[in-house]
């Protein structure tokens, strides 16, 4: 039973037929071909054992693409995560240690899992930032609901939230431990060890701010 291969559609696509099984005598008698197959497997086996015995095992962490055994002995050995890896969130800080977040709710709006909860607060009377921006009284991320999509990072207009900690979501033993409050989120440093925001804009009360001149008018 053979099907016709015909040119198809306006683009006249013609397929390239794939081969059918070649049942030569050595295939039909089973043994010779099985021996060949075992040969291939054994080649790998001896190569791997040799590497083990002579300590030539390549570094599985960095050489994932090489031949041989590429088992990572977690947790003694850890695979370095690529630069773009989306890990646990962190909140970046200003120079004075306050969170950079201005509680604009962009991240919680963009979050498809709806796992960010923010309560905005006003700065006290007399603070140069009062009336200019707000701060998060509470900032909570439920890392169990989070799907690590990175939309919150993309949505933040002031570079206040990042996922560049290089830490994957750790297992805990109760649900409460997955609810990351503001202080936990601010405690994570970035990969480079920095906690500062990369935002180039300076707000009132910070060095480099040109000053708010709307009060003068």
């Amino acid at each position: 039973m053979k099907n016709e291969t015909v040119a198809l559609g306006p683009n006249q696509v013609v397929g390239a037929p794939v081969p059918r099984p070649q049942r030569s005598a050595s295939v039909q008698t089973y043994i010779p071909e099985i021996a060949k197959g075992l040969g291939i497997t054994m080649k790998h086996f001896f190569q791997n054992t040799k590497e083990m015995a002579f300590g030539q095992r390549n570094d599985p962490v960095l050489e994932g693409i090489e031949d041989g055994i590429n088992c990572i002995s977690y947790p003694e050995q850890k695979r370095p995560y690529p630069a773009r890896f989306r890990g646990v969130h962190r909140l970046t800080q200003r120079e004075d240690g306050a969170p950079r977040c201005v509680a604009c709710l962009c991240c919680s709006t963009a979050c498809p899992a709806q796992c960010i909860h923010i309560e905005a607060g006003e700065y006290p009377e007399g603070d140069p930032r009062r009336g200019y921006e707000r701060f998060p009284k509470r900032f909570v991320i439920d890392e169990l609901r989070c799907i690590f999509c990175g939309f919150c990072v993309e949505a933040c207009p002031v570079d206040a939230i990042r996922m560049d900690t290089g830490v994957h979501a750790a297992p805990y033993d109760s649900r409460e431990q997955f609810i990351f409050e503001k202080d936990i989120l601010m405690g994570f440093p970035g990969r480079d060890g920095s906690r500062l925001t990369g935002n180039s804009r300076h707000e009132p009360g910070e060095g480099g701010h040109p000053g708010v001149d709307r009060d003068k008018h």
Binding site: S26, V27, G37, R86, T109, P112, P157, D159
Partner: protein, 404 residues
């Protein structure tokens, strides 16, 4: 002399039999994903089979109507979870068709490279799992190791191994990394060597051949009338590949073949997938050559794409644009569109209806697996019980996509 049982009715001599009901799945390892097959067996022959899908139904289409168009990307990641990047690209293309925009060339090549890598991972998984279910564990491990490399590469590009959420309407979430081309070339080289080795191991093995050849045969006419697409349809000899039939992205300019089978049995499906991996490698090589190292990835339209971060931080226009898109969602013009691409298992289409607001009115996916699984009953009725495993394995049913 007359025989003794002359007066006896034939039926009284036979033991009264009734068909044996056998329930396979939904949590059976051979029913990857979650499918339940209720079979009526007579001896080892399947007389009737009732294939039940839907155990992984998560209401994907309804959930999409809740958020913005961008928020659909994490959902499509979880449809075909063996090649999520193809789903990302397909959905982005559907939205772009609705908007009537085309992404810059560099982005098109980027999408092709990532998409073909995802297709390879899809085929590696399917062929590997098929071999494993027939007892050949070694090729499975080699293929999964090769798939790991693809996922490492995709992690490097997108930030997540599986749930990339990397496509965006009008571009990609980030531009290609500097060593994308080197990595892609190295990975495809390695995969090709794995494919060669697997071929050497399996195609000389008589048990493997006997269990695939002539098993699970479907005719061209049946496959077409069931709505089959992808490798399963091509195994019957129909050279229907969306990349060739109605080229999208840059596929029209690329040189590759459409491997087809001749018989439509499990063996052809296995071989078509192997051959397609080789074609994918060719496509990736050509795309690597033609993709520019510099240039824009996202389209230049502030209504669609979030402005660059520096502008958001420092200019009021950038901030307003940013807030408009994040708070209201990207607005697609009212209307409907059907856009289709070649997914890992066949024609992956998205039918979108928009009412002009920032929220999808309706998102309908045409999952290739669903229609292919609908043919499972036809190819295993009358077959032996043991043939279910290769037949079902060769269809590459992916639960997330089939049940949505």
């Amino acid at each position: 002399m007359e025989p003794l049982d002359q007066e006896l009715d034939e039926a009284e001599l036979e033991m009264p039999t009734e068909p044996m009901l056998l329930n396979v799945g939904p949590a059976h390892p051979a029913m990857h994903g979650t499918v339940r097959c209720v079979m009526e067996l007579s001896g080892e022959i399947i007389e009737h089979v009732d294939v039940q899908v839907g155990y992984l139904h998560r209401g994907f289409e309804k959930m999409c109507e809740r958020g913005t168009w961008t928020q659909v990307f994490p959902y499509v990641d979880r449809c075909n979870y063996v090649s999520p990047m193809l789903n990302n690209v397909a959905f982005a293309l559907a939205c772009e068709k609705m908007l009537g925009v085309t992404v810059p060339e560099r982005c098109q090549w980027y999408r092709i490279i990532l998409g073909e890598l995802a297709r390879m991972s899809d085929h590696l998984t399917c062929d590997g799992a098929m071999a494993m279910e027939l007892g050949a564990f070694t090729p499975f491990l080699w293929m999964i190791k090769a798939r790991e490399m693809i996922w490492d590469l995709l992690e490097e590009e997108t930030g997540a191994r599986l749930t990339h959420s990397f496509g965006r309407v009008g571009g990609m979430a980030s531009p290609p990394t500097d060593n994308l081309k080197d990595n892609a070339r190295a990975v495809t080289q390695h995969i090709l060597s794995v494919v060669d080795e697997v071929e050497k191991l399996l195609l000389g093995n008589r048990i493997f051949l006997d269990r695939l050849e002539g098993i699970g045969v479907i005719s061209q006419a049946d496959a077409i009338s069931l709505g089959w697409t992808g490798p399963c349809l091509r195994a019957t000899g129909v050279a229907y590949d969306v990349r060739k039939a109605s080229p999208y992205l840059k596929y029209g300019e690329l040189d590759f073949e459409v491997p087809v089978g001749t018989t439509g049995d499990c063996f052809d499906r296995f071989m078509v997938r192997l051959a397609e991996m080789r074609q994918s490698a060719r496509i990736i090589e050509q795309a690597c050559q033609r993709m520019a190292d510099k240039g824009p990835v996202n389209i230049d339209d502030p209504r669609i794409i979030l402005p660059p971060k520096e502008e958001v931080y420092n200019t009021i226009e950038g901030t307003i644009q940013h807030f408009k898109i994040v708070m209201e969602g990207l607005k697609l013009p009212a209307g409907e569109v059907y856009a289709y691409t070649e997914g890992g298992n066949g024609e992956l289409g998205f039918y979108l209806v928009s009412d002009g607001s920032g929220t999808p009115y309706r998102v309908r996916i045409r999952p290739p697996c669903f229609l292919i699984t609908a043919g499972l009953e036809r190819i295993i009725t009358g077959a032996m019980m043991a043939d279910v495993v290769p037949s079902f394995g060769s269809l590459n049913m992916i639960g997330g996509e089939c049940d949505r």
